[in-house]
Amino acid sequence: MSGRNPESGGHIRIHGGRLVDPANRVDDVLDLYIADGRVAAVGKPPADFRAEREIDATGHIVCPGLVDLCARLREPGHEHKATIASETRAAAAGGITTLCSPPDTEPVIDTPAVVQLLRERSERYGYARVVAVGALTQGLAGEHLSEMAALKKAGCVGVGNACTPLTNTLIQRRALEYAASFNLTVFLHPQDHWLANNGCAHEGAIATRLGLPGVPEAAETAAVARDLALIEQTGVRAHFCRLSTARAVRMVARAQYDGLAVSADTATPYLHLTEMDVADFNSLCHVSPPLRTQRDRDGLRAGIAQGTLAALCSDHQPHEPDAKLAPFPSTEPGISGLDTLLPLALRLARDGDMTVPDVIARLTCGPAGILGLPYGTLSPGASADVCVFDPQASWRLTLADLHSRGHNTPFAGWDLTGRVTHTLLAGRVVYTRSSDR
């Protein structure tokens, strides 16, 4: 990569930090040695290692660079919201080194050309690695299969239909079968189109009071049940994106217990917000699937803690201000999440739901495993993608803190703990807090 960042690779020692590498069950004060873009050694220096650069991580945590399963960069097609340059830079500032773009760009990622564009542009800027989920159907229209083999060859980590679920179960069955032929993971957003009925809030007491069209729990559980049946039938490897209900988590846990090759994730907002947060028509809390009940939030937290949900993602959806300046139902759904992925995840450790290494696992080796990529670990030989953060640093999030161009976050004003100080991508320092602004 020929990054604009002047700090090139070479030999780097990161010393004095608590090294947490869940993939190798490492959690100890250990030095990390990096050479030529790769992890050279952990603990003891390799022979003849002469560090050209030292990073003092005393009191900090050193972990693999984060892997975000779902981040919309808005390029190509929606550059008025954000760009690959702006969002990969925000990712670096958030300790994220690998981002996965869903296929709902414009044009849709249904041809190798778009995959190539994403890769070339992200490599040119050099802040973060961008991988793509290709479209399951052409134009995400749910009618014709995309050229999945070509997409795989172009580098797609899987295929999916983004937030436009297939309504025709026969087409879905064939799409899953075709994907299975090429050993592609299918990324599914479980929401029944008809039951969702263009709703914009969880169907419950709050939506009833506010008169907002509701999305029932069954919109998700009915889709999960149908998808599980088709996954079993077709033998495809599948991943459920953004579960929002406790019941769906239990259904996935059951399927995993039964030996089905299914994984699942949720996004950080669903672990911290509930339907109550839309109670004053707060369009910043308009997300899809909708924020649900406290019981669902707790069920999702349990799913993340127990590993039923192996990944926690940002579900980053940056918007221009106008997208949220309208009456609630007319606003665009989504939260800008790259800047808050790590601190919001670390809150689960602070709240006692899980340990710090487990939190880091859901942000690194968990999602990397789902993508089938060799990242999210500090094993010797692995790409030196590293995140160094101060786990004690507390700050109140303001919009001025955000690196993403999307300022649409309901977490402004929240007291967050855990702040990234250094991010390395393939052995290059792509972010340091000290030189930030």
Binding site: A205, T208, L212, D280, F281, A326, P327, F328
Partner: protein, 329 residues
């Protein structure tokens, strides 16, 4: 809730009128009392009071309405205000012009009050949050959320017919609760006035999720729901509900939930029948009932003008006195 507090200023006075939720019983009673004082204006030879002379009120209707818009217009004119009617067919809204752009333009024309109807729930709150500080927003119906002046005129009508002690009343609301902003506002208003029992009556498809949490008892049988009721409020059934599998037919709806003289016999002998209009005769009620001695439907329309005069003058009264305390944001 902060959204509701938008409508009350730091001294507890009406600043906008957005929803019944967030009002105090004292303030609601104050509006009804003020409406009472305006009720006589229409009987004078000169049907005007000069309270809002020199003020400009904009009726901003993004949804079709005859009754509500007309009574707002009459109310404004009887208060001597200048009235501007803007009807915007939401689908033909000029592309690219956002709601906010439109507000800014109207502000630039030095208007004092927006009376807003919009198909999105929360639209009036959104506008109240974004208008210039000297402008009041009155909600004339937003999506399925709220239609607070309708609820007030209904309370006004009930109070005139049944007295101010709502505690001994049983009120039944019959029809499409799910899609009705009128029902939501009525339920909040009835509960704010401590109504003894509030019943809602409809098939499950027309009752919203967890409706009980609004403070009502749900019935799926008309005679059970209106038994011994003092007030029976019938809601308008939109014809489009036959699509989307909410109901099988108007015929079956009328068979089960239509109000007839025989069914009304289950309510108290002196029960009154209300309807926010316009009525689908033969769908939600018989003409016999609609035009019968217990119907107060036309009184509701008349009262609508007095209630809207009260709301508009109270929201403007706040502007007349200079603000000394800082506003809550």
């Amino acid at each position: 809730m902060s959204a509701s507090n938008l409508q009350i200023d730091s001294r507890g006075r009406l600043r906008h009128f957005l929803s019944i939720e967030g009002l105090t019983r004292a303030l609601l009673t104050d509006v009804l009392d003020t409406a009472e004082s305006f009720a006589g204006v229409a009987e004078q030879s000169i049907k005007k009071v000069p309270l809002l002379r020199g003020r400009t009120i904009v009726n901003l209707f993004f949804e079709a309405s005859t009754r509500t818009r007309t009574t707002f217009e009459l109310a404004a004119k009887r208060l001597s205000a200048d009235v501007l009617n803007i009807n915007i067919n939401a689908s033909s809204t000029v592309k690219g012009e956002t709601l906010l752009d439109m507000l800014r333009n109207l502000e630039a024309m030095h208007c004092d009050m927006f009376v807003v109807r919009h198909s999105d729930s929360g639209a009036a709150h959104f506008m109240a949050r974004h208008v210039a500080p000297h402008i009041s927003v009155i909600n004339a119906g937003d999506g399925r959320h709220s239609h607070p002046t309708q609820a007030l005129l209904d309370m006004f009508t009930i109070r005139r017919e049944k007295g101010a002690d709502f505690g001994r009343l049983r009120v039944a609301i019959v029809g499409d609760i799910q899609h009705s902003r009128v029902a939501r506002s009525q339920i909040h208003a009835l509960n704010l006035l401590n109504t003894g029992q509030v019943h809602v009556v409809a098939p499950r498809t027309l009752v919203p999720a967890q409706a009980e949490q609004l403070g009502v008892k749900v019935f799926h049988n008309l005679t059970d729901g209106i038994r011994d009721a003092d007030v029976v409020i019938m809601l308008r059934l939109q014809r489009e509900r036959m699509q989307g599998a909410l109901l099988p037919s108007e015929h079956e709806y009328f068979q089960l939930f239509g109000l007839t003289e025989e069914r009304l016999a289950h309510a108290k002998p002196d029960a009154i029948v209300m309807h926010p209009g316009p009525i689908n005769r033969g769908v939600e009620m018989d003409s016999q009932v609609a035009d019968g001695p217990r119907s107060v439907i036309l009184q509701q329309v008349t009262h609508g003008i007095a209630v809207r005069m009260a709301v508009m003058s109270m929201a403007m009264r706040q502007k007349a006195a200079p603000e000394t305390e800082p506003e809550t944001p």
